[in-house]
């Protein structure tokens, strides 16, 4: 697990610590206080109860991170496509319609530095 993924998991655990503590209290601490410790069945159940929530948090983090990456990729691809379509449409227009205030294209093009002329 890389550092960014580890940070996400730690952040998620910190964010869900109160639900985690209350869940462990009711499912583990209360039965333990009532003397459930010696039973093998309880020990097995306790192991599963201890393990499943952190695994669920990690899975949720993985799903969330994947969804975020996919969403940003999709947004970037969409923006690129919109720019391409916009440029293509602009190129199809006659010059007068591209720059309505002037009869010709402006003398300064994008990327030109007017102070150097």
């Amino acid at each position: 697990m890389n550092r960014a993924a580890w940070t996400t998991v730690v952040h998620a655990v910190r964010r869900t610590r109160l639900p985690l503590v209350s869940y462990y209290t009711v499912t583990l601490a209360v039965p333990l206080a009532n003397g459930a410790a010696p039973s093998d069945a309880f020990r097995e159940h306790a192991l599963v109860v201890l393990a499943v929530p952190p695994v669920a948090i990690m899975l949720a983090c993985a799903v969330h991170t994947t969804a975020r990456i996919l969403a940003s990729t999709y947004r970037a691809a969409g923006a690129h496509a919109r720019r391409s379509v916009g440029a293509a449409r602009l190129n199809r227009l006659p010059l007068r319609q591209r720059w309505p205030s002037e009869s010709r294209a402006p003398s300064v093009r994008v990327g030109d530095n007017p102070h150097r002329r």
């Binding site: 985690l20 209350s22 009711v26 109860v49 499943v52």
Partner: protein, 175 residues
């Protein structure tokens, strides 16, 4: 400070009372939570549950019994404790303490009915569509499902209450 401490003591006593009631109650005594849960599961799964004296709520067409251990009292106790602890910063007087306890109790009851109904509906679906995993038995899958749904329900409830709480604070401080 004193009111906050008292609200936590009162919450612990209420939680203990709920656990005590759950330990001593028969399925018929838990109708206050089993009945709405059975009705909600019936709506979700398009099934009818009938009350069976001393056993719980039974669906004849699915051969599924919602018994005492499916009541979701443990979830309700966990949710109640979590909400009171999470909302304790709102306690300043006796009235606000009673409000926090009342809201936490109502929210934990509603969440227990809803989350438990989802858990039972998923369990019914899993029972109708069994899938083979060499490492896990059907009981293990049922256990994983229960833990995941209950813990997920607690997290969602906590996030919802935190969001509502933040919005309420923002509205109060708006000029």
């Amino acid at each position: 400070m004193k009111a906050k401490r008292w609200v936590l003591v009162a919450a612990a006593l209420i939680a203990w009372g709920m656990k005590r009631h759950y330990a001593d109650a028969r399925a018929d005594d838990l109708g206050w939570i089993l009945s709405p849960t059975a009705r909600l599961v019936g709506v979700m799964t398009d099934t009818t549950f009938e009350q069976q004296r001393g056993e719980g709520y039974f669906s004849r067409d699915r051969l599924f019994l919602i018994e005492k251990s499916c009541a979701g009292i443990n979830f309700m106790v966990a949710a109640f404790g979590m909400l009171v602890f999470g909302l304790r910063h709102r306690v300043g007087s006796g009235i606000s303490a009673a409000r926090v306890l009342g809201v936490s109790l109502a929210a934990s009851y509603s969440a227990a009915v809803l989350v438990n109904a989802v858990r039972i509906a998923v369990a019914m679906w899993l029972a109708a569509h069994p899938f083979e995993l060499s490492a896990f038995s059907a009981a293990d899958v049922h256990r994983f499902e229960g833990i995941t749904v209950y813990f997920g329900g607690l997290v969602l409830l906590y996030e919802l209450v935190q969001r509502l709480d933040r919005n309420a604070v923002a509205v109060r401080h708006r000029p």
